[in-house]
Amino acid sequence: MSDVTPVPNDPAAYEAAAIRTLTDLARAGLVIEQEGRTRLGDEFRIAGSRVNATMKVSIDGAERGGNLLLVTSTRPGEGKSFSSLNLAAGLAQMTERPVILVDIDSKPGCLSDLVGLRRARGMFNLVQDNAIPPASLIVPTEIPGLFILPLGVPDANAGITGRERPLAVTTEALGLAMPDATFVLDTGPLLSTSDPSVLAPAVAQIIMVVEAERTQRAELDAALDLIRDSRRILLLLNKTSARARSSFGAYSYYGDYYAKPVVPPPPPTIPPDS
């Protein structure tokens, strides 16, 4: 951790956790709120509604980690952060509950990086010190109901305080601390990091992002094997090519329909000589 700049334990020293604008979010790949209705936006809305339905069951059943949604995949680069962000935005739009997007993927170019929250305090700090109220670290966005809990920066000066808790416990506590919020946890890939498999028992639902035309079935089997005890595993096929016909019914038709302005048929022309 020597490459991480030590951050003084002074809140003022941190970057102000200002509201994240749509521009910031767009940098991270937000597509759902772009101008007009796009095919991608619709696809995420449909996926979001299904996730919502699933979560509703687990929240209503008061299941453990019912308001936690883990997003993972088999390998890096399959679109976890992208899917998390857009699913979170979609959920925020279609529910009354606040949706908090939690970044637990500490790779360079992670979600926090992209939305400009690299230096903001977040999950790392919560893991280090359970005394920090989570609400104080949550950053609002321009999308109403959508918040971001950044990755955070390890505090080198924190020392051993006795308030460290494992990631799974921290996450579970987070869900319990804000039962009215929905948490979307953006984690690393299952086959490269241990975070998602550690977190899996604490959450009620997991989304496996599968990259179309690339993720191999054997890999997916191996990844699913790591989280086989989980109750609800949902698959999301990402990066499908526009050619694939069996996406969602007459989808391309609607895409085209919304993309083009509806032009009324021209009135019948009357021959002038009549």
């Binding site: 595993i233 096929l237 069996s246």
Partner: protein
């Protein structure tokens, strides 16, 4: 149709994604292949042409009579002779090849490889080429020279020793056949002696059969004889032994006798004088009769033909024939007894050896075959003697070296240009193969249907977020692949040029 389209598009996507694998495979294949070709050693071939005049005059004359070796046989023989182990060893020792093989196993291997690498080819009926390939042109020429030399040596004493060998072979065969023939003869004679009675005679019938027929015949004759005798006996029984002579007067009447005597006397007197003795005798008879008193009683036949009944000649004859028949019957009975005994004896012997006839036939056949072969061999030996004499008189094979072997300047192999082209084709094929293998091994998910096969709930599919690549970018990507392949072809043309120059 949709399914097919989807499948094709799927393959297209995969192939495009794996394009660099294909390009890399092609490059790797080409580089390794071309470097390999460049490092292949040059092969030089030295060739000598010889004219061998297989005697055109002699051949048709002796065909069919003598052991005539045709040209192809000669070539065959030549090849085998040249490539015989001792000959090859001699050739190796004569040339620099000996330095390339130091250990015994190396030499062994060298000899074996020489058997295939020295080529004797009939170009026309009489012209043969002998060629050898080696990395060293001078060595190749030396080897061919050595081969030619050994050919000349061999050819000189060849046909003669050939014939001698054949003669020795024939002699040994004839000896062998003679022995076998003699043995067969002895065996046959012994057999004949032992079973003389049972062996079929010249008329193709054996003795048993003959005895049986004889017995049958005799039995028949016996029956005939018996019947005849019975007939005769019957006849005899019904025939009287005496017959009563029928005369006009009373039989034995002296008057009658007297009258007859007087009549006879009268007759005699008419021919002869009274002094003729017969007349005198007759006179006395008459006187005697006149002097006898006439007796009416039937007396016993008195001398002078007084009997009334005479023996029956038929009866006599029958009696004689009956005797005859009895004798014949006796004779036949004896003969039948003999024949029965004979037949029984022979039959007993024959029954004791049922396979006798078959083995006799076998013996005969063996003997015939042996005799036929033996005489054939004798004829063959004679004809070969004639042929041998003819060959010795004519010097039958002439050999002229048309092209002596020279150290070649240009290599004949490897054909690097052709190999380079083959490598390029192979490289392209390997590129395609890599892609095909990748496609075959691919297990990715191309649409929701495939993902649903995981039997987990699927919440949806999301299109590729980045905008489809612009036209410029697509062109750039295609151009990159084409450039990689173009570079390969450029290298290929350079390699070809290099190899052409070398050749």
């Amino acid at each position: 149709m949709d399914g097919l389209q989807e499948l094709l598009s799927r393959y297209g996507v995969l192939a495009w994604r794996k394009r660099w694998y294909a390009v890399a495979a092609a490059w790797l294949f080409c580089l390794i292949g071309w470097i390999g070709i460049a490092t292949l050693p040059n092969q030089f071939e030295a060739t000598a042409r010889v004219y061998i005049d297989a005697d055109a005059v002699l051949t048709p004359l002796l065909r069919g009579i003598a052991v005539d070796s045709s040209l192809t046989d000669q070539l065959d023989l030549l090849q085998h002779m040249l490539l015989s182990r001792p000959n090859l060893e001699r050739i190796i020792d004569k040339t620099d090849l000996q330095y390339s093989a130091t250990t015994a196993t190396d030499k062994e291997r060298l000899v074996e490889s020489m058997e295939h690498s020295v080529k004797v080819i009939a170009q026309t009926r009489n012209i043969f080429s002998i060629s050898f390939r080696n990395e060293n042109p001078q060595l190749a020429a030396d080897v061919v020279q050595a081969v030619l030399a050994s050919f000349v040596e061999n050819k000189a004493g060849n046909n003669k020793s050939d014939i001698e060998n054949a003669q020795i072979f024939l002699d040994s065969q004839i000896d062998l056949y003679e022995k076998q023939l003699r043995a067969a003869e002895e065996k046959r004679a012994a057999f004949k002696k032992k079973f003389i009675e049972l062996i079929p005679g010249d008329n193709g019938m054996n003795r048993v059969e003959a005895a049986r027929q004889n017995l049958q015949l005799l039995t028949g004759q016996l029956a005939d004889a018996k019947a005849r005798r019975a007939l005769l006996a019957n006849e005899l029984a019904h025939t009287d032994a005496l017959v009563v002579t029928e005369t006009t007067g009373v039989a034995g009447d002296p008057h009658t006798d007297l009258r007859a005597a007087e009549n006879r006397l009268r007759d005699l007197r008419q021919i002869y004088t009274d002094a003729y003795p017969d007349v005198i005798i007759q006179k006395r008879v008459v006187e005697n009769l006149r002097s006898q008193p006439p007796s009416p009683t039937i007396a016993a036949p008195a001398p002078g033909g007084q009997n009334r009944s005479a023996p029956n000649p038929v009866y006599e004859q029958l009696k004689l024939r009956l005797v005859d028949a009895n004798a014949q019957l006796d004779s036949l009975t004896r003969q039948v007894t003999d024949a029965t005994a004979d037949f029984g004896r022979l039959n007993g012997i024959a029954r004791g050896a049922p396979e006798l006839e078959a083995s006799y036939t076998n013996l005969n056949r063996d003997y015939d075959v042996l005799q036929k072969n033996y005489s054939e061999l004798l004829a063959r030996r004679e004809s070969m003697r004639i042929g041998n004499a003819a060959q010795i008189r004519a010097s039958n094979v002439k050999m002229v070296i048309i092209d002596p072997p020279v150290a070649p300047r240009l290599p004949v192999a490897p054909n690097r240009v052709l190999l380079a082209i083959a490598v390029l084709l192979g490289a392209l094929a390997s590129g395609v193969g890599v892609v095909v293998a990748q496609i075959a091994l691919d297990q990715s998910f191309h649409n929701l249907v495939e993902l649903r096969a995981m039997s987990l709930p699927v919440i949806g599919s999301v299109s590729l977020a980045v905008m489809p690549p612009s036209l410029g970018e697509r062109i750039r990507k295609v151009a990159a692949v084409l450039a990689a392949l173009g570079a390969l072809f450029a290298l290929f043309s350079f390699v070809l040029l290099f190899f052409f120059r070398q050749a």
